[in-house]
């Protein structure tokens, strides 16, 4: 369960980084607060990745934690990049599901 929570955080990090990139490139509407949104998005992504690594490290110490998070990050980033134009609602649904899923995992004792 800790690993699952870690993977959910990695997916959230990928979504956040993608949103920040879209703000930075001007694809997303709203020029106001764009720099702040970019910084916030990227900052959140880094924090989520760090937290994901820390969680996995609690279960499997050593290089495994970094490798597992890297693998998850590659998959999440690819999925976000490909699903965004094809099935944006699916991506948004995934994003909205992450929070309740994370809370459920926390409630089930995902953090050792």
């Amino acid at each position: 369960m800790t690993e699952s929570l870690s993977l959910v955080l990695v997916f959230l990090a990928a979504l956040s980084a993608r949103a920040a990139d879209r703000h930075a490139s001007g694809v997303r509407r709203g020029a106001a607060l764009r720099p702040a949104r970019v910084v916030a998005g990227r900052g959140f992504a880094l924090a989520a990745l760090g937290l994901a690594t820390w969680l996995w490290y609690r279960v499997e110490p050593g290089p495994a934690a970094f490798l597992a998070v890297l693998v998850a990050a590659m998959v999440s980033a690819s999925a976000c990049a490909l699903l965004g134009p094809i099935a944006p609602r699916l991506l948004h649904a995934g994003a909205w599901l992450c929070l309740p899923l994370a809370l459920a995992l926390l409630a089930l004792g995902a953090v050792p």
Binding site: E3, R18, S25, E60, A64, A68, A72, V75, S78, I86
Partner: protein
């Protein structure tokens, strides 16, 4: 846009690579990619499947669909196994291997054989199912018939892929951040393939690079070892083997001396555990069995160590500890070997990481295929030559054919009775015949897209039926009447997921093929209608 035009465009934006370098890297990337693509594709595809090697070995053999057998004595396994050669491996029961087994190369050959040791019934049962093992061996192009040369060829080819990866990074470096999230499926086919190739290639870059590099080193290490014995070790193969350590799985043959009975395996195991208490024994390797200088390697995971494989080597005759190698007590070469092996065989993370790595593996396959399709789309503008047509059809034949062959293998393994002696040969030949047949089919099709969707549909159909067919061999699966076993059910669920993806892809490609066929039909009709329209206009103007 040609490579030269792109280089010029990059130069205007202040790009570091010169036009000459950019163009050269572009051509090297294209040619290295297309020359290595189809074989590397097969290696990536099979590699993605053998991430689940252990669950597949449980799914395919009903004998091990039970709780691991408990052993009172390790020596009794050797007595049950009967006469054994000088060198053999003994695999002890684990959570994912319910029965012990013994394996060795047949004398004077590279043919590897294994036997299950049913200690409860006093039986030695030859391994009856090798579907997972075939995929594992073919993943690095190993076969008894072709031997090491094809395996070494695979290693060399993978360096071609590494060259394609490195040059790909160099030519896209200037645009990396802009193109990182650029995926435009609504544009032309060429743009779609190009974006897909770049997105999957960039995000999957660490995976593809690490797996290509570690895989190449694993398959080429026996060759490099042999080549180094003369110049580096002055021909002393024993010293070379001792130095290489775990980098080389099989040390060179040597004379282990006259016959001599050693300590029992139980006594040796106790000494190994005393030398390294953290060792969780999984297998034992005998070299020079029942000979004066014979050794026994007690191998397994070391608790609490990253990529924690450990080894205790003992002299069989008296149990003297010759070597203890664990992650925190090893030479530099042992660390290198452990990291190479641990990274490539995923000695971390568990099922979730393997599932993610399988997705990356399939994404790697798509990266390779889209590379070929980009090549073909670029050349289609100037008119395809015979070589391009052959490449298009081969890409379809190998790309879809490899999937069909694997599905046919799994289905056949469930349809044939487990006790039917010829089943191993039939499976092997079926795999080869199906693969070659699909390539022939694709070569015969005028339109590669037709070959793609028909073969993927065939693969999906076979995969969907396989769990049903599996009932005849085992009751532990989805449709079995007995208690369900997690690995067996997991494999069958995985088959249905893959079958769904294959079916969806086949139907999507069929839709595209129909649309293209309709467009192709309308073009001559439109061209034929034009003179008539022109005549109408002329009559009206008069």
């Amino acid at each position: 846009m040609s490579a030269e035009q792109k280089a010029d465009a990059g130069g205007r934006r202040g790009f570091a690579l010169s036009r000459h370098a950019f163009t050269r890297f572009w051509h090297v990337h294209a040619w290295a990619g297309v020359l290595t693509s189809l074989i590397v594709y097969v290696m990536f595809l099979l590699g993605s499947l053998v991430l689940f090697y252990k669950p597949l070995t449980i799914w395919e053999e009903p004998l091990v669909q039970r709780r691991p057998v408990e052993l009172n004595s390790l020596q009794s396994l050797l007595e049950l196994a009967g006469p054994l050669p000088d060198e053999f491996w003994l695999y002890l029961p684990q959570s994912d291997r319910a029965l012990p087994k013994v394996g060795y190369y047949l004398p004077n050959s590279t043919a590897w054989r294994m036997w299950w040791l049913d200690i409860e019934h006093g039986q030695v049962i030859p391994q009856r199912e090798l579907a997972a093992a075939y995929l594992y061996d073919l993943h690095y192009l190993w076969h008894d018939v072709t031997g090491y040369w094809l395996q070494y060829g695979a290693g060399v080819l993978v360096f071609g892929m590494l060259l394609a990866i490195v040059t790909g990074v160099l030519i896209q470096l200037r645009n990396a951040t802009r193109q990182l999230n650029q995926f435009r499926p609504d544009r032309t086919t060429r743009v779609l393939f190009s974006d897909l190739h770049k997105v999957l290639g960039v995000f999957g870059l660490p995976f593809q690079f690490v797996y290509a590099l570690t895989g190449a080193m694993m398959v080429l290490s026996p060759l490099l070892f042999e080549l180094s014995i003369g110049p580096v070790f002055g021909g002393d193969s024993t010293r070379a083997a001792d130095t290489a350590g775990a980098l080389v799985e099989e040390p060179p043959p040597r004379d282990y001396g006259p016959p001599r009975r050693g300590l029992s395996l139980d006594a040796l195991w106790m000494r190994a555990r005393a030398a390294e208490p953290r060792l969780m024994v999984e297998s034992v390797v005998f070299r020079g069995y029942l000979q004066e200088q014979g050794t026994v390697d007690i191998r397994g995971e070391v608790e609490g160590q990253p990529f924690g494989d450990g080894l205790v080597r003992l002299r069989a005759r008296d149990g003297h500890v010759e070597l203890v190698e664990t992650p925190d007590n090893e030479r530099a070469v042992g660390t290198v070997a452990r990291w190479i092996h641990g990274l490539h065989t995923v000695h971390y993370g568990g099922l979730q990481v393997r599932l993610l790595l399988a997705l990356l593996g399939f994404a790697g396959c798509v990266t390779i295929l889209t590379g070929n399709w980009i090549w073909l789309e670029r050349r289609a503008a100037r008119g395809l030559r015979r070589g391009d047509v052959l490449l298009a059809r081969l890409t379809a034949g190998v790309g879809a054919g490899a999937i069909v062959a694997v599905c046919a293998l799994f289905l056949a393994s469930r349809l044939m009775p487990m006790d039917w002696l010829p089943r191993l040969k039939v499976e092997e030949r079926l795999l080869a015949v199906t693969f070659l047949g699909c390539i022939g089919w694709a070569l015969a099709e005028r339109e590669p897209l037709e070959a793609w969707w028909r073969q993927l549909l065939l693969a999906a159909s076979m995969l969907a039926v396989t769990p049903l067919a599996a009932r005849s061999a085992s009751q532990a699966g989805l449709f079995g009447a007995g208690p369900k076993l997690e690995p067996v059910v997991g494999v069958e669920i995985g088959m249905y997921v893959l079958a769904s993806v294959l079916l969806a892809t086949a139907l999507w490609l069929r839709k595209i093929a129909r649309r293209r066929a309709d467009e192709a039909e309308r073009k001559p009709q439109a061209a034929a209608a034009q003179p008539h329209e022109k005549h109408k206009l002329e009559v009206q103007s008069k």
